[in-house]
């Protein structure tokens, strides 16, 4: 029973897991910690509440794309067009709201639906016609770029003034709502964890991860409290004129996506099937899993997430342009997922990895900009970090298979 096993036992179990190649999020966590210390000591601005809020809103869109990409990466596939899919869906959203006068609550779901449909097309080509996803999404990458250009018009941008869409990246929860949000989240997390362990104990199953979970929960809640406090501090330069306090609206948006996607992946049979197809597609097929359907659905989820990211892009820039979701967006998103611990070989990874990795990418971007490094250096450092993560992934895979 859980109470007989001490912390040392669960820590040992966990460490043997790490050694067996299941390093998971550990390197990304360490990396994030080191980066924060380095930038915090080098720059006086980096650890201020204002920059923290800035960091979250900067990272949001890439994180959301990366969360969707996790589904595709878990299959061992890739979606190179997710960045421009975000752009296309963002453009649809803006056009529907500004030119067709749709309300946001109609326009946003339609734009997400459009994303899901684009994903269905990609998924069909990959799963049914068996074209490598690299090639299919390279083609759709170009096609979506063209579509975005046609929708927005060459060189032009379309502004958006819908207050709800703009609020996502530009407004904050009030201080009291921030704390309520934090308490609700922490409470729900605690409750779901406790319920799970109680159910297992009832079924008479041995559990030596309970103590570790308690520690993890404690650390998470401590970090959450600190972050919520930092975000509720006044960060406006001129508080009398305009007050800037509270958790940015985009944080609860990401949290809802995280909870939903994590639930699907870890608690439903569909999620299990995604891992199975990524681990051994032939075994999954023989077990009676509809592998094609799993593949198509994963691509649909991926571009669906990209559509949400499109909305976040639009909200942040107050407009859509032909380069929204372009340039390094997709590469940062893939990098975020991989840095967080999602394997490019498929079968390994979590949606929370994308958030962790996205924060690492954003911290490098933000911290180096504050220190005055040119963009060239930033790209090179991000590339190096991605390479390190991919190396850890490949090496840990080898470690796992030689036991």
């Amino acid at each position: 029973m859980s109470q007989d096993l001490n912390i040392k036992q669960s820590a040992t179990d966990w460490w043997s897991k790490v050694k067996a190649g299941q390093v998971g999020a550990l390197p990304a966590l360490l990396g994030l910690f080191v980066l924060c210390i380095v930038f915090g000591t080098q720059s006086s601005v980096f650890l201020t509440p204002g920059n923290l809020a800035n960091l979250l809103t900067q990272a949001a869109a890439v994180i959301v794309i990366a969360m969707g990409l996790v589904f595709v990466l878990l299959l061992g596939e890739i979606d190179l067009s997710a960045g421009y899919a975000a752009g296309v869906c963002g453009a649809l959203l803006v056009i529907m709201i500004t030119e067709m006068d749709y309300p946001w609550y109609l326009a946003f779901p339609i734009s997400v639906l459009a994303g899901v449909l684009l994903g269905a097309v990609i998924g069909y080509l990959v799963a049914q016609l068996k074209i490598p996803s690299f090639v299919v999404t390279l083609a759709t990458f170009l096609a979506f770029q063209g579509l975005l250009l046609l929708l927005v018009g060459e060189g032009g941008t379309i502004r958006i003034e819908d207050p709800v869409i703009l609020a996502v990246e530009n407004k904050n929860l009030s201080v009291s709502y921030s704390w309520i949000f934090f308490l609700l989240t922490a409470g729900a997390y605690l409750l779901s964890g406790l319920l799970k362990f109680r159910k297992r104990k009832k079924a008479g199953l041995v559990d030596n991860l309970f103590k570790l979970w308690v520690i993890k929960t404690f650390v998470l809640i401590a970090i959450g409290t600190l972050a919520t406090w930092a975000l509720t501090v006044e960060r406006s330069n001129n508080p009398d004129l305009v007050s800037l306090r509270g958790i940015p609206y985009v944080v609860p948006v990401i949290l809802v996506l995280l909870v939903g996607a994590t639930f699907v992946l870890s608690r439903t049979s569909f999620g299990l099937h995604i891992y199975a197809v990524g681990g051994n597609a032939e075994a999954a097929r023989r077990a009676g899993i509809n592998v094609k359907m799993v593949r198509i659905t994963a691509f649909m989820i991926c571009t669906g997430f990209a559509a949400v990211a499109g909305m976040i892009f639009v909200s942040r820039a107050n407009s859509i342009s032909p380069t929204t979701g372009g340039s390094s967006t997709l590469l940062y998103a893939v990098g975020a997922a991989v840095i967080g611990g999602t394997s490019l070989f498929g079968g390994k990874g979590k949606v929370s990895d994308a958030i962790l990795g996205g924060l690492v990418v954003a911290v490098i971007d933000n911290g180096m900009a504050l220190l005055g490094y040119p963009a060239g250096i930033k790209f090179m450092v991000t590339g190096a970090v991605l390479l390190i993560s991919a190396t850890i992934d490949a090496v840990s895979r080898r470690g796992a298979s030689t036991t």
């Binding site: 299990l272 681990g279 051994n280 023989r286």
Partner: protein, 245 residues
């Protein structure tokens, strides 16, 4: 001999011009291990794929528990209680033992996986197979040894109250100690009342574990005999020449 749980009569199967199975008769008995031996290309794999519903034979009769049946797909075979353990085991390395055992047939409560119920049942099945070498049934299959993986694959096959379990070369990739362990397990399955069909190239294994031996030669069933009535040399002759004496 008692009446067989599964018997095939005059089964024929061709791939284009190649006549792979020629009037093959084959029987498997509950509580017995039936070894299927034969040289490469003799038709062993084709025969078990016909039993498992992966191939459909052109002609021939299937009799299961005394009733004629038609198996036109893997699901039909599964529904009858016929499970097959492939040589490559078909396990997902990245999933744990429980998830591998229930893959494709997960237990669901509401919309979520019923993890505790699956874990208890998996544990019961593995305990029933007296497998004590696995540390935790929540560990990933990637971290298991060859013998343990074979055990998981076999446990998955017997989890569903199956009646016939077919093992394709279960010891081909294993060391001495692990082979011993798996053969013991095979014996135990039969002692538990299952009909076990084992394909093997290793006559030592066959003589150690089988109750009767079916030898195929160039697509025909050379003979299906009781182990105690033959010597290893007899079986070698059956495999290489198809001649009984």
């Amino acid at each position: 001999m008692a009446s067989p749980i599964l018997s095939l009569k005059r089964v024929n199967k061709s791939f284009g011009p190649v006549h792979v199975l020629k009037d093959v008769d084959f029987s498997a008995y509950a509580g017995k291990v039936t070894a299927l031996v034969g040289d490469n290309g003799a038709g062993k794999s084709t025969l078990i794929k016909c039993i498992a519903g992966i191939y459909t034979p052109e002609t021939g009769e299937f009799i299961f528990e005394g009733n004629p049946v038609t198996i036109s797909g893997p699901r039909d075979a599964t529904a009858l209680g016929i499970e097959i353990v492939y040589q490559d085991l078909a396990l997902c390395d990245n999933l744990d033992i429980v998830h591998n055992m229930f893959l494709g047939r997960e237990e669901i409560s509401g919309i979520t996986l019923n993890e505790s119920s699956m874990e208890s049942l998996a544990k019961k099945t593995l305990d029933g197979l007296t497998v004590r070498t696995v540390k935790s049934i929540r560990q990933k299959v990637a971290s298991l040894s060859g013998g343990q993986r074979q055990t998981v694959a076999i446990a998955r096959a017997v989890l569903w109250n199956s009646k016939v379990v077919i093992l394709d070369e279960p010891t081909a990739a294993l060391g001495v100690a692990q082979t011993e362990q798996v053969l013991k397990l095979v014996r135990q399955l039969a002692d538990n009342g299952l009909a076990v069909i084992v394909i093997s190239h290793n006559l030592n294994d066959v003589f150690q574990v089988a109750d009767n031996i079916a030898a195929m030669y160039l697509g025909s069933m050379a003979a299906q005999v009781e182990k105690n009535s033959v010597t290893q040399n007899d079986v070698v002759r059956l495999i290489t020449t198809g001649a009984q004496k």
